[in-house]
């Protein structure tokens, strides 16, 4: 059995290789523009999924406002690239725009996190819904960003390489968060908040960390989304978008990194493949979800993960020959 360090090195090299492939693939012409578009969409949706999963899955809340954070990230980054620095070189501009988009959304996550201290369950869901609608309506009333008719002329800066990069970063950060002490605190809140408090978990910090991280990555995804479609308007970020992300999360599996990837991939690809069905496509997809919920309420990979997505260092000492245990709540 290889030691953790070597495993990490191998994993890192595979990821880097993936980045090289993603950077080179468009130029080779093996993958046409449309397929690239779909792959980038999968990456963006995966980031949205895993960040929502942090709050909905691992923390057990029901947040409907994810599209609002996405909107903030999209608009913040678009303002940067379209209005403030239209002539700056893309290599420098794009990462900064995405980071700023993420930070804006992350900052917006703080008040929502604070609101979550006192409220739980359905009322938090409604607060997140209100937040989403306030962001959407607020954006509709700002003429600087085009108001309700949106912002045009966003340069096409999202490439396969950048999408892949941010996707890997998102998964890496959230994986590390979830398997750290904060992550265990977050999971404890899901199980029983009062007991967690009693056992010394600082629930306030944990909630803040979860909300801010989740909204940061939603903002990043929003920025990537804006620079892929080259056009954003407030109605792209309404309850329907939030619902799409929820569908992906619950289809793939709550509290699962692999589930987020799976859900994003399946839903995005199915949405594209089922295009010939037209409107009936949006009957088939939710129907699959409903059937899934009836037989497997936590989604395809709820609460479970593939071994290669979990950290390699064992978090408590165990013998080298011990097999993976398969209890549902195994967080280590």
């Amino acid at each position: 059995m290889m030691d953790g360090f070597k495993k990490h090195l191998i994993q890192l090299s595979i990821l880097l290789l993936g980045l090289v492939v993603a950077a080179v693939l468009p130029a080779t012409g093996l993958v046409n523009d449309y397929l690239q578009f779909v792959l980038i969409s999968v990456a963006i949706n995966a980031i949205l999924c895993v960040s929502l999963n942090l709050v909905n899955g691992w923390m057990g809340e029901f947040s409907v406002g994810h599209a609002g954070f996405m909107a903030l990230g999209a608009y913040a980054s678009a303002i940067l690239t379209v209005k403030l620095f239209p002539t700056a070189p893309a290599e420098l501009l794009f990462p900064s725009a995405v980071l700023i988009g993420g930070c804006t959304a992350g900052l917006a996550g703080i008040p929502v996190g604070i609101l979550s201290f006192k409220t739980r369950g359905d009322y938090l869901a409604i607060i997140t819904l209100a937040f989403l609608m306030i962001v959407k309506s607020g954006l509709e009333n700002i003429p600087y960003t085009g108001g309700p008719r949106g912002l045009l002329g966003i340069p096409r800066l999202t490439t396969l390489a950048w999408a892949y990069f941010w996707c890997v970063v998102a998964f890496w950060v959230i994986r590390n968060l979830v398997y750290s002490k904060y992550g265990r605190g977050i999971a404890a809140i899901r199980e029983d908040e009062i007991a967690a408090e009693a056992m010394g978990v600082n629930t306030r910090t944990a909630k803040l960390v979860a909300f801010v991280t989740s909204s940061f990555f939603a903002g990043v995804a929003g920025a990537l989304f804006a620079h892929q479609l080259q056009f954003i308007n407030p109605s792209s970020f309404d309850i329907l978008k939030s619902t799409e992300i929820l569908v992906m999360v619950y289809l793939g599996g709550v509290a699962s990194l692999g589930g987020s990837l799976l859900g994003a991939g399946v839903v995005t690809i199915l949405t594209q493949c089922l295009q010939p069905l037209g409107t009936w496509r949006m009957v088939v997809l939710p129907a699959i979800l409903v059937v899934l919920m009836l037989y497997r309420p936590s989604g395809i990979m709820g609460y479970r993960d593939w071994a290669w997505l979990k950290p390699f260092f064992p978090l408590t000492p165990r013998s080298n020959e011990k097999k993976e245990t398969e209890t549902g709540e195994d967080l280590q």
């Binding site: 002329g153 080259q230 056009f231 295009q275 990979m301 479970r304 398969e326």
Partner: protein, 398 residues
Amino acid sequence: MFLPNSISVPFRFFLLTITFFTCGSVLLTSCKPAKPSVKVGINAELTGEMPAVGASCKQAAELFVEQVNKDGGIMVGGTKLPVELSVVDNSCKADQSAAAAQRLISQNGVLVMVGPDASSCAIPAGELAESLGCLMISPWSTNPKTTQDTQTGKPKKNVFRACFTDRFESPVLAAFATKNLHAKTAAILYDVTSEAPTSQSALFKEAFEKAGGKVVSMETYSTGDRDFSAQLTKIRESAPDIIYLPAPYNDTPLIAAQARQLGIKAPFLGSDAWSSPDIIKLDTGKNLEGSYFCNHYSTEAATPKAKQFIADYTARYGNAPDDVAALTYDAMVLASQSISSAGNLDRTAVRDSMAATRTFDGVTGHFVYPKDEREPEKSAVIMQIKDGGFHWVSTVEP
């Protein structure tokens, strides 16, 4: 397998089915027939706010393709190639319109994209067509922004249209309002969340005031709203001579009904967004009787070419073509002419050939494309809704 062992067998079967379904669809869609053809894409509003517009567009395009393919196809560099039509729905949503354009241009590999019709969809699709270098002809979008580059303000290279713009239409309506309807004051109620009505309202206000009138009330609503009583009550207070309603065919009957219920007696004036015959079907209270609007062509004042098209369309589909259908047909003819005169299937050549077109005689009238302009100069018609149908009132030349 790579799934946790605790997943039950029937469930794995379910997952397997989804996976096969997905892979199968991907494989099927990427298999393309090898014979050469001229690929044209239609980006239409088949579902969403105005499905009647999308349906007209699709039907007119299919009629054209049928007629042309019966003849063997379009003449390209000496051989006749059949036309292959790909239709993608944009649900009348801006982001889906961009995605549809991407699909048509990159996945289906079309030479020309005809559509979208709604300006809110045409503008983002135009951005994409421009950045991907594919010729786009919008049949019905009248908003100036569709063919304009947002950064430079100059016309885009690849986006053209088959209709006149709001810059022509709004002054025509304003002139009609002041001269024929003798209106001194006007109120406007428009959808502020949609491109077309917003620019039409602004341009109408400008033109109306330049013609000596005064706009006493400008109220807004959002797409999908049903209740206009608050805005109409305010309009009632301002007592205008006419009310300008640049709303699409499904909103206008509602607005008119509520206005009449509140006791507003002023006549309504509409934009070309009223042009679908569905507007009369949806106007169960006959509140729009006697109202006027601006249109691109009229079945009553038709040229022989138009009459032929109307006869063919009615024979094929059972109802007379509206302006969207007529404009789409003209756009398709323009596209096929550009492809023929380019002589090959290269996107740049086709685009250059379209840019070189100066005049064109279509179903909707005589087009004049000035050099470096992407929109034609052509005549507009004023129509009236009377006795359950559209009636031609007058034609206005550019």
